[in-house]
């Protein structure tokens, strides 16, 4: 089982959600985050003084999938989160040791 974490632009949420549901994920978790990579921040201005804000709002999307789903999910993410402009984000894949469903106590791939 793998956890796929994607940092994406916030306005892309609906598109990404639809694409992931289409390839058959069981669920997802979304967190509002701040960050920067190559895309630097904005400059705000208050009473003539500039305020550099390095961090930009992003969304962190996490899904846990079975190993055989990984490629399809990554494809779906790459397509739906893409704009071609700087700041589109990144995808991280990490191994998951165990998954447990709280309601039924199921473990392993059946709980994904």
């Amino acid at each position: 089982m793998k956890k796929i974490t994607a940092i994406v632009k916030p306005f892309k949420l609906d598109e990404v959600k639809e694409a992931l549901v289409k390839v058959g994920i069981g669920g997802m978790t979304v967190t509002e985050v701040k960050g920067f990579g190559e895309q630097r921040g904005q400059t705000e201005i208050y009473r003539g003084q500039e305020l550099k804000v390095d961090f930009l709002p992003k969304l962190k999307i996490e899904v846990v999938v079975r190993d055989e789903q990984v490629d399809a999910v990554v494809e779906a993410l790459l397509k739906s989160a893409y704009t071609g402009k700087i700041g589109d984000g990144k995808i991280f894949i990490s191994p998951v040791e165990e998954v447990i469903r709280i309601r039924t106590k199921e473990r392993g791939e059946r709980a994904v």
């Binding site: 201005i45 208050y46 009473r47 003539g48 003084q49 305020l51």
Partner: protein, 429 residues
């Protein structure tokens, strides 16, 4: 000497001075005047609660918004009590040597249901003037936000009101020596705005810079709301200062509106040119600067004069704040000096130039053949400035060495809302 003082007093009594001070020659109550002043009192109240509170609150950082509100709210409440206790008497009672009023009206003793101030009940005059005193104190807090200790603020508010506001109000409005000299201040450019501006500046210097010494408004929509309430309430502040329901009140209203609109647009366009973008904060700041600058002039100038005042009020304070303040490096957090002090000074001088006797026969400026008025205005500003500076410094020093003035660094970092009040303003995700 006695002859000069006596003739000045006689001149004063018969000059129909715009703001009535003390016992007046006209004994009859006018219900039109009274109705208007009742409303004006409510309008000026609204300027502090919650006008200024929200204007300042929105400009503060999120973790300090409640503390910022608290300083305005407590200012109003404290002054409300102290005014009836002793403030009114010392400011507006019968004059003693041009310096202060008699103490005989403490707790409004001697003021009864039949007591009049010109054509309005004296009780109403008490209430109306109370709102002016309260907002002056509240204005100062803008310089102190995000770092002053709350207990220090309360003590400062009481002492400053007592030792600075009350005497100055007496000198300019209560029949004191600046009134006798003929200084023109229709609704409080000097008594309220220059006064608060200087005190704010001195306080900013004593407090020192914040750990985060930059303006990061956490809610500009509150600032816009506050600006609206201030502009609305200022109709009572300026037009109410005619202390009558007449054409003087009307011209004061119109002048106020004109100068403010001009100043707001001037700041907006100035900022557009010099900073690159027209900001809502700039519009609001310009509006407030215009409101301040027209305050001493509202019942003395004509509409052309109010346009000139608006232009300068929208232009000069912007540069004070955007260029001079960062160059000098003092942390007047919400620009109490930059806006109220500077625009107040501009207004005071322009009143001395533009006062049109066809608007108000008691005010004749340089442009209308009375160059000495400008010197009188200058003297009035300088006297108040020096007195305010000295006494405010003494008060702050006293607080600093006894109970301490500033919050601890951890308190400042965590935010004064949590540290001093144990409260969180927002419970949003």
């Amino acid at each position: 000497m006695k002859g000069v003082v006596l003739s000045l007093m006689v001149m004063l009594v018969f000059s129909g001075y715009a703001l009535a001070e003390g016992p007046a020659p006209t004994p009859k109550l006018d219900s039109g005047d009274t109705a208007w002043l009742l409303i004006s009192t409510a309008l000026v109240f609204l300027m502090t609660v919650p006008g200024l509170a929200l204007f300042y609150g929105g400009l503060a950082k999120k973790k300090d918004v409640l503390n910022t509100l608290a300083m305005s709210l407590t200012s109003y409440a404290l002054v409300s009590v102290l005014w009836v206790l002793y403030g009114y008497s010392l400011a507006f009672n019968e004059d003693v040597s041009g310096v202060i009023g008699k103490t005989t009206k403490f707790l409004l003793s001697g003021v009864g249901m039949e007591s009049l101030n010109n054509t309005i009940p004296e009780f109403l005059f008490v209430a109306f003037q109370l709102t002016f005193a309260a907002i002056t104190v509240a204005l100062i807090s803008g310089s102190f936000i995000e770092r002053i200790k709350f207990s220090a603020w309360i003590v400062f508010a009481v002492l400053w009101f007592t030792l600075v506001y009350v005497p100055v109000a007496h000198w300019v409005w209560g029949g004191g020596f600046l009134a006798k000299l003929g200084a023109l201040d229709f609704a409080g450019g000097t008594v309220v705005h220059i006064n608060a501006g200087i005190a704010g500046l001195v306080g900013a210097l004593f407090l020192g810079k914040r750990k985060e010494p930059y303006l990061k408004p956490h809610n500009l929509t509150l600032v816009a709301l506050g600006t609206g309430l201030l502009w609305f309430g200022w109709i009572g502040f300026n037009a109410g200062s005619a202390v009558a329901s007449n054409s003087l009140a009307a011209i004061a209203l119109l002048n106020t509106n004109t100068a403010t609109a001009v100043a707001a647009l001037t700041w907006l366009f100035t900022e557009w040119v010099f900073s690159g973008k027209p900001t809502v904060l700039g519009f609001c700041s310009g509006a407030v600067a215009g409101l301040v600058a027209i305050t001493p002039a509202a019942g003395f100038v004509n509409v052309s004069g109010s346009i000139i005042i608006g232009l300068l009020a929208g232009f000069v304070p912007y540069f004070m704040i955007a260029k001079v303040k960062p160059a000098l490096g003092y942390d007047d957090a919400l620009d109490v000096f930059g806006i109220h002090g500077v625009a107040g000074i501009i207004g005071a001088f322009l009143t001395g130039i533009l006062a049109d006797p066809s608007v108000n026969p008691t005010g004749k400026g340089l442009l209308f053949g009375n160059p000495s008025q400008l010197w009188i205005q200058l003297l009035s500003v300088v006297v108040v400035l020096i007195y305010d500076l000295l006494v405010t410094a003494i008060i702050l020093l006293g607080i600093k060495v006894t109970m301490g003035l500033r919050s601890y660094e951890e308190e400042e970092i965590a935010g004064l809302d949590l540290s001093h009040h144990g409260e969180r303003a927002y419970d949003l995700e």
